[in-house]
Subunit: 338 residues, 2 copies
């Protein structure tokens, strides 16, 4: 029998985030304090730009996952807090660079930093945050965690390059797409959860379990992200519905609609996503085609399948508040609307 | 009595680089091997783009300085080689990002990576190299060196942001300019030399001496770089003379010519550097004004002064091949034509 993901209250997905928020609350206050301290710089633009994004109400899911993993592994030290802050900095740096690469105008309902301070400062402040991130990890003193996160930094960049190459290419396969989201998104989720286990000095088996949980949760998270871009509403999302469509980004809903469609439909996808020749009504037509071929439902279905793998990965751990919080967040990632 | 910088053969500045090249030759072969290995990636564009810049005939002064410093400190291990490669990767990453930020078209006589593969891939491959750089340092296993270099990564980015803010601002003072070049250039030189001492487990006094040597050498290096942009020839430089002028970059030759000039001259600088309204003949006029006010000679003079400080910094070390190579390279940095 397969694992059933708990979906207690579909009308309020945030309820599934609450156990994780409660579990990590005290530690996250410290994470947030460290983040504020380390975003300081005597160079005026640096903290301004960094804080614009850092204080824009991101969920801070990755540091929470690192902390929850450490707690699940009965970690009693303080380095999980520094590690959490470093992970959020690394994440923020990649977002700053992504917005430059994708020429994005909004993120989390606000203008992107690149629109306010320019692409140049966004690239450089990203670099500043990367440096600060590694500096914090040095302070935490775990070479093993440093190794996980510096490898993650490289892999994320490789994933972004793969995405760049795949852009506008409707021939991209579902497997290509999986390689991309594995590198650009799942890597940092698994780095976060594996770091928590590593700090605790756990056996290889438990580190591997948490790495697998993080990876599959990250895949589910990104799949839902990509589906929401065609099905969410702009207010919840903090960005316009259809941004991926306008950017010609190849995501699973497009891959499925393209492959399941007839030659007229493929010509439509080749014109819009492939050549970025977009007319009024094209987004609505794209969404209608996705509906016709169940492309969004299939994307959510894939996300649920990865969620089930993440769920199973935690089976070797004892039940308790920590495990419950980490299982519930799987449901949150799948049912969320932003 | 002041220190006299040895200027044995002004007609052949490279002669002053030779002792350093000889001293570090065997180790640099290993550095180069590691660099080639670590630039690998399964994502096609990544190694291509990285190698375009890495294999473009840079002098690799920074890793040579790290290695020479380790040798001066009688280091007998192997981690100086990995550290050298990591420093060159960090340097390459900053160059890739700088060329995007400065919109540069040529570097080392070749088209910049951003012109061939685009700004987006240049940003991302820079991030990849930063990750690889820290991963190598983790392998070398020195937390102290990791701390020096992650701090350097942040400081370099801060320096670039300062430079961005100062761009086109003719009111920039010599002190502002010094803060900028200290952060963006001297930091990595001093990080390289300090790392060599740190690996060797030397006393604080010797680490401080090598840090000071590196910093002052880096300042001299950048001052000469900025003077060569108005006085070198394009073939030696590997880029067009006057690039800084066309970009509106504030460097010491401009600061001095502006301050030493009359109101008509200042209006000229405000139009060209300040507003980037450049007409035919403006570069020649700028160079004439610099000549009239000895702005280039004064810039070289400043470089020689920092060179003298670097020279003095090494006084506490015993004479020998290592020290000679490091003293001679000061003269090279000042007398070089590229």
């Amino acid at each position: 029998m397969g694992v059933v993901i708990p979906l207690k209250d579909r009308s309020n997905p945030s309820a599934n985030l609450k156990p994780l928020l409660d579990l990590t609350d005290a530690d996250m206050r410290q994470v947030n304090r460290i983040i504020t301290e380390r975003a300081r710089s005597d160079v005026e633009t640096v903290p301004e730009l960094a804080r614009h994004l850092i204080e824009s109400g991101g969920k801070r899911l990755r540091p929470m996952l690192a902390i929850a993993s450490a707690k699940l592994c009965k970690y009693t030290g303080q380095d999980h807090v520094t590690t959490g802050a470093a992970i959020e900095f690394l994440h923020t740096a990649t977002l700053l660079h992504d917005d430059v690469v994708d020429e994005s105008d909004t993120r989390r309902g606000k203008k992107t930093a690149r629109l306010i301070w320019g692409n140049q400062a966004s690239v450089l402040v990203g670099d500043f945050l990367l440096g600060q991130s590694f500096l914090m990890l040095v302070d935490a003193g775990s070479l093993h965690v440093l190794k996980i996160l510096s490898q993650a930094a490289s892999t994320i960049a490789e994933g972004e390059v793969m995405q760049l190459i795949a852009a506008n290419n409707t021939a991209t396969t579902e497997d290509d797409y999986l390689s991309i989201i594995n590198a650009k998104t799942a890597t940092l989720f698994s780095a976060a959860t594996e770091s928590g286990a590593t700090l605790s000095g756990r056996v290889a088996e438990e580190r591997a379990a948490l790495r697998s949980y993080g990876k599959n949760l990250g895949l589910a998270f990104q799949l839902v992200d990509d589906a929401l871009d065609y099905s969410g509403n702009s207010k919840d999302l903090g960005k316009a519905v259809g941004d991926d469509f306008r950017e010609g980004k190849i995501t699973l809903p497009v891959i499925l609609a393209f492959r399941r469609g007839d030659s007229t439909e493929r010509a439509f996808w080749n014109r819009t996503i492939g050549q970025r020749k977009i007319k009024d009504g094209d987004l609505e037509h794209a969404m209608a085609l996705m509906g016709q071929h169940n492309a969004l439902e299939a994307t959510f279905e894939r996300a649920r399948a990865y969620g089930a793998v993440a769920h199973d990965a935690l089976a070797i751990f004892d039940d308790g508040l920590e495990k419950k919080a980490m299982l519930d967040v799987i449901a949150f990632c799948i049912e969320r609307r932003h």
